[in-house]
Amino acid sequence: MTAFFELSNVTKNFGGVQAVSSMSFSIAKGELTGLMGPNGAGKTTIFNLISGVYDPDEGSILFKGEDLVPLKTYQVTSRGIARTFQNLRLFQRSTVLENVMTSAQYHIHYTFAEGMTHLGRWRRKEKEIHEKSMDLLSRVGLADRAEQAAGTLPYGHQRRLEIARALALDPELLLLDEPAAGMNAEEVGSLNVLIRDIHRDFNLTTLVIEHHMDLVMEICPHIICMNFGAKIAEGTPDEIQNHPEVLRAYLGEEEVE
């Protein structure tokens, strides 16, 4: 049986630097998986490979049995994969609402001519797009900020907005790239709850990148830990916590005199 999502022997070099070296893991449908590792371990590169921003030098990335490698980025989206970005990529000048509407329109169609004349399905479908976006904004707690320019939101809220925007694509697989980066402890706490809730309520399979061990430990039953582009451990939070390789990656090598 093929896994829901599977990375096998994926390698990516940038010049002489091996960012990811024969990385393999698989995720079952409905799982909430954490991908952790110190800074520079190659976590974001993995996301860029999955979403088609880069093509791997070797290996294959299978989603529901289909190889994603030959697909362009926008085609990856059409297969039901959405992601957020570590260095926020919101449409800064647009409003919070417009940001979500831009992706909510993905599954709500009307023709170009209807858009140009505002006849036909335009009104009904625009209303649908609007409602769907507002629903998602209230889901992430930003409904009262809908008309504000996205770039003026506090950092933590921008991260939530990115999540709302990704959810508007109705993905099956959601990739969250360091959703807690730059947040304070309180914000991280409520983010944990949010990630867990949307994972359950939207029927998602979720892969979260984090370098904060505690966040991943708290919400992810399945954890993959990597360092220097390679997988060093995989398992439940308990297994990871006591794994010697993980401790070495995070705490450094014990010096032997």
Binding site: V53, T73, Y74, M101, S103, G115, T117, H118, L169
Partner: protein
């Protein structure tokens, strides 16, 4: 209304149509063009040739003018807009010059550099205003639709937008094609207004003026493009009596606005959003 006032209004309509086209491409899709006068030239010459040599009625001829511009835009857009960066801007300079040189040298069809006289004066005030209104409604509707949001998304962040499922290259090409259609129609109307066209009317200066007007009005604001057109067209007309200084004033206005308000008159907002804003109900 005096013939002169009528002439200015017609000219305003024509310039506004072209400016809307450039605004969609530059302001909303984020692609700079330095050759949009070429699309105006294509529209003008196609319409002139069709009406005079083939006896086609001016209305379908204007549409054909727009369509020829669209076809050329497609041919140049597909290879250059797949690349990110300013490749199209560079290519558009080449396009602008190439079209002008073809028009100057293809004597048998375009009558060369001396120009093409005797075009029916079909661009009356009702025609110009009517076409302007229809195209303006279309354009304002368009930017408030799925396509408008797609353009802005591609302009602001191409990686994010391609991961939101937008085929960014395709959106850029379509945006260019619509833009070329507007300019083609504007060119066709200009021919009917002046009854005479000449390749030199569609030179690099005209292209830069089109882009300057849009930057002046505010990138990402369609009403800004219209306002910019109005200001620039009126400045050049009002100061016609002091003809030798009017380009000086035109230049000064551009410089002053760009220094005081680098984002253009309107920034990226629309006129209506200011009027409506206080009354907008909380969503």
């Amino acid at each position: 209304m005096s013939g002169y006032t009528e002439g200015i209004i017609i000219l305003l309509c024509i310039n506004a149509i072209a400016a809307m086209g450039v605004s969609l491409l530059t302001g909303f899709t984020g692609i700079f063009s330095l050759g949009h006068a070429a699309y105006m030239a294509l529209g003008a010459y196609t319409t002139a040739i069709l009406t005079i040599q083939h006896g086609v009625h001016w209305f379908p001829a204007i549409l054909c003018g727009g369509i020829v511009a669209v076809v050329v835009a497609y041919l140049i857009g597909v290879p250059t807009l797949r690349l990110l960066g300013d490749y199209y801007a560079i290519a558009s300079i080449g396009l602008g010059e190439a079209i002008r040189l073809i028009l100057e040298n293809w004597q048998s069809v375009t009558r060369g550099a001396r120009g093409y006289p005797g075009i029916d004066p079909y661009t009356t005030l009702p025609v110009a205003a009517g076409i302007f209104i229809v195209l303006a409604i279309g354009m304002f509707n368009l930017i408030n639709s799925r396509f408008g949001r797609a353009c802005k998304a591609c302009r602001d962040d191409y990686i994010a937008s391609s991961l939101l499922g937008f085929n960014t290259a395709r959106i850029r090409v379509v945006s260019l094609m619509i833009s070329a259609f507007y300019c083609g129609v504007a060119g066709a109307l200009l021919g009917g207004f002046l009854s005479f066209i000449q390749p030199v009317m569609f030179d690099m200066l005209k292209s830069t003026e089109l882009t300057a007007v849009v930057v002046f009005g505010g990138l990402g604001s369609m009403s800004g493009a219209l306002l910019g057109t109005a200001v620039i067209t009126l400045v050049t007309e009002l100061f016609r009596p002091i003809s030798q200084y009017r380009m000086l004033i035109y230049g000064a206005v551009l410089v002053i606005v760009m220094v005081i308000r680098p984002e253009g008159i309107m920034g990226n907002r629309e006129l209506l959003s200011w009027i409506k804003a206080p009354f907008r109900r909380k969503a």
